[in-house]
């Protein structure tokens, strides 16, 4: 009846594991009680969970990412604490538990922090940047969100029921095969990946179609904001790379559950094919995480330098080059498999080449700042911190691209330092910049800048303290994923790294305080114009928060910096002569239902509860059928209502709130030479 699920699944075997389970379950109960206490269930369901509004879906994605960031970071702290003390002793974590922690940390950070964070920001902003009223497939968007949440749910519940994988976030066979890993851990990992991977693929397709089809008049490809460009590129990467992940995970699941032999030595299987397929997805994936952050940095750097983005075209071409090249380098993750010299040379050189377009971007951002009037807004500070730190990570990456050097460094803490050096500044800092930059667009008030700057300093100092020692430790020969060690020379460095992690913890606390303080004082930091930073791109033309339809009248664009151009030309903030009815998608409860069903499906497959798996699968098909037969999925916002909303918004704006554009007016030859570099 319950497959292999028995009372043994509850982690009574260790107090640390029990504590983790208690925190997870307790957290869940606390949230449940809080919502009940606030009587917010109905609002939560009708206004949020069932909403097909891309901005609300985006906000829910970001909330998911922030919650999972806390979970993933607790894992990191635990590992740092363990390694700080485990010289010639077992520390406080048994080996098997330590293995679960690094596996869940990596899995959570990549799939359930970075992916939802970037998807959320894209959801909130991209339709507004291209002058669209919605994404191409609003219902699919909601399904994607809940599939991602279902995957995250599987990882979370593995704390309380059963165990998580011990095979690392990459789960290489044969260790992740059924012979060496008969428990449920690897299955939890696999089904979390499969379920959320389907959601990500759908988001990717959704955004390709949105950007290709829904741009407003005049928004040619070469006038799209950089964030939209990076979104288009990563959506293409998602559409092509994620199927490889889904296939490889499904193959391993078949090996484990049905006794297939894709990756076993028996019957002609080959485990290196797993590494090959995983990294066909895996390398594009790192660019999927990083490119949107590059897009955010591009927007932020132009806005807060008060200049047009330098080298827009070169940034577009560099992004496209990175996107294509990212499909040609995957072997660098398993050089040590031992390919022949030709294979290694081709992939090694391709890897080094990919650094070139990235370097181009760094120069473009620096030239944008050159002679600009820089304003040190938290998002700008994160951008500058990124530029300095990311270059270090890039250099160590080029070093690892040399196969002979990689043979020495592979799977050492040098590698761990390298990829955190890319992902923390290159992805997370970008998302934090985006959070600070676009928060008013999503909620209508600004985030507190003081706490934003503080969070930045704790994050960056913590980052350097936590990861620079790991470069050194790598050279001293320390491998990654070590539960304890015998070399006393390593310990001082690991203690510094642990202090760094504590510093990052303070950074996270600062973000929490920032959110709290800003929410408390929201009345004094309201953004009435919809354009708090004198922004340049079209998302600042809508109200903050934007009306459900974003744009009452679909705008027409004449320039790269469309909204800047409108402000200069005096066409911004103009009421329309007449408004028209607007068709919007109705809310639908099927998204959350499909999410719940795929969670049940994953859970059932993990525990071999076949009837539940079959039931969940059939019900999911029924849901899809119901949706397909629903011909009344849209409703109309009448023109009068649109006029009312727009009137209320425009009525709030006084000319005192508007930005002074005189500095930006082109200066003619008669009135003196134009300031160099000014737009």
């Amino acid at each position: 009846m319950l497959g292999r699920l028995t009372i043994e699944a509850i982690p009574l075997y260790s107090w640390v594991a029990m504590g983790g389970a208690a925190v997870t379950v307790g957290g869940g109960i606390a949230v449940f009680l809080l919502i009940t206490y606030l009587r917010a269930w109905k609002v939560l369901w009708t206004d949020w969970l069932t909403s097909l509004d891309h901005k609300k879906i985006g906000i829910m994605y970001v909330v998911l990412a922030l919650v999972m960031l806390v979970r993933g970071f607790i894992d990191a702290l635990m590992m740092r604490a363990q390694q700080a003390i485990a010289l010639n002793n077992e520390g406080y974590l048994p080996p098997e538990h330590f293995e679960q922690i690094f596996s869940s940390h990596g899995t959570i950070m990549i799939f359930f922090v970075a992916m939802p964070f970037l998807t959320g920001l894209i959801n909130i902003i991209v339709p507004q940047q291209i002058g669209a009223r919605d994404v191409a497939f609003p219902f699919l968007n909601s399904v994607s969100l809940f599939l991602t949440a279902a995957g995250a749910g599987l990882v979370l519940i593995s704390l309380a029921i059963g165990k998580f994988s011990t095979a690392g976030w990459t789960g290489y066979p044969p260790y992740s095969g059924i012979d060496y890993n008969p428990g449920v851990g690897v299955d939890y990992w696999l089904w979390a990946l499969i379920v959320s991977g389907v959601g990500s693929t759908a988001s990717g397709i959704n955004f390709i179609v949105t950007i290709v089809k829904n741009r407003c008049p005049g928004m040619t490809y070469m006038r799209m904001p950089m964030f939209t460009w990076t979104t288009l590129c990563i959506s293409i990467l998602i559409a092509f790379a994620f199927p490889a992940l889904t296939v490889v995970a499904a193959q391993l699941a078949l090996d484990r559950t049905l006794g297939f032999h894709f990756f076993t030595n028996g019957d002609g299987g080959n485990m290196m094919l797993f590494a090959n397929l995983l990294w066909i997805w895996g390398h594009p994936e790192v660019y999927i995480l990083i490119l949107p952050a590059f897009g955010i940095f591009s927007e932020v750097v132009a806005t807060f330098s008060r200049k047009r983005l330098f080298g827009y075209k070169s940034l577009v071409y560099a992004t496209a080059c990175i996107a294509i090249l990212s499909f040609t380098v995957w072997l660098h993750h398993f050089f040590t498999m031992g390919s022949s010299a030709n294979v290694n040379a081709v992939f090694g050189i391709a890897t080094m080449i990919i650094a070139v377009p990235t370097g181009v971007k760094i120069f473009d951002w620096m030239f944008t700042m050159y002679r600009g009037r820089i304003e040190f807004h938290p998002s700008m500070v994160f951008t500058i911190g990124f530029m300095v730190t990311f270059v270090i990570g890039g250099v160590t990456g080029v070093l690892l691209a040399l196969p002979p050097a990689d043979y020495l460094m592979h799977n050492s803490t040098f590698l761990v330092a390298h990829f955190h050096n890319m992902l923390i500044p290159g992805a997370l800092f970008g998302y934090f910049a985006g959070l600070n930059y676009w928060f008013p667009k999503a909620f209508g008030f600004k985030l507190d800048a003081k706490w934003g700057i503080r969070s930045f300093w704790f994050w960056i100092i913590g980052f350097y303290l936590a990861f620079m020692p790991l470069y050194v430790l790598g050279f001293m020969g320390m491998s990654r994923r070590m539960e304890h060690y015998a070399d006393p020379n390593w310990q001082p460095y690991l203690i510094v790294a642990a202090l760094g992690a504590v510093c990052v913890l303070l950074g996270i606390v600062c973000i929490a305080i920032q959110l709290y303080v800003s929410a408390k004082n929201w009345g004094s930091a309201r953004d009435l114009t919809g354009d708090p930073w004198n922004g340049r791109t079209l998302e600042w033309a809508t109200a903050s928060p934007a009306a459900p339809y974003n744009f009452a009248i679909v705008p027409t664009v004449r320039d790269i910096d469309a909204f800047h151009d409108m402000k200069l030309g005096g066409t911004a903030y103009q009421p329309a002569a007449a408004y028209e009815d607007i068709v919007m998608p109705k809310s639908s409860g099927l998204g959350p239902v499909l999410g719940a069903l795929s969670f049940a499906l994953g859970f059932a497959m993990v525990w071999y509860i076949w009837w539940l798996a079959a039931l969940a699968f059939v019900l999911a098909l029924v849901c899809v059928g119901i949706r397909a037969c629903d011909d009344e999925s849209e409703f109309i916002i009448p023109a009068a209502e649109v006029a009312r909303i727009e009137g209320a918004h425009l009525g709030q704006i006084t000319s005192a709130d508007m930005h002074d554009m005189r500095d930006f007016q082109p200066v003619g030859p008669a009135s003196g030479a134009p300031l160099p570099g000014r737009a």
Partner: protein, 101 residues
């Protein structure tokens, strides 16, 4: 109107028939043991590639005359990426096989 609906029904049916045949061939070869060795792989791969073309032409109605250039561009792009992924994988795994012998 009526005429074109009929024609598209017949294209769908032709496409469907071709797809069934192209699926049946590999299954028949393997189940019936009609072919062995590397030749099977080649036949399966070729049948799969033709199948892709059948889907594009008969179900998605792609051709060089009426399909917008943008779509053809994306299709070409997809083809390049798939060649990189499949070709690269074959190269890597064959090379490995060779070195393990």
């Amino acid at each position: 109107m009526h005429h074109s609906a009929e024609r598209s029904l017949s294209t769908y049916l032709t496409g469907f028939a071709l797809a069934v045949v192209l699926t049946a061939i590999p299954f028949a070869l393997v189940w019936g043991g009609l072919l062995t060795g590397p030749a099977v792989y080649v036949v399966i791969a070729v049948a799969a590639v033709i199948q892709v073309v059948v889907h594009l032409v008969f179900f998605l109605h792609m051709n060089f005359k009426s399909t917008p250039g943008e779509n053809l561009f994306f299709l070409g792009f997809a083809a390049v990426l798939i060649c990189i992924m499949v070709g690269g994988s074959l190269w890597i795994m064959m090379d490995l096989h060779h070195r393990m012998m």
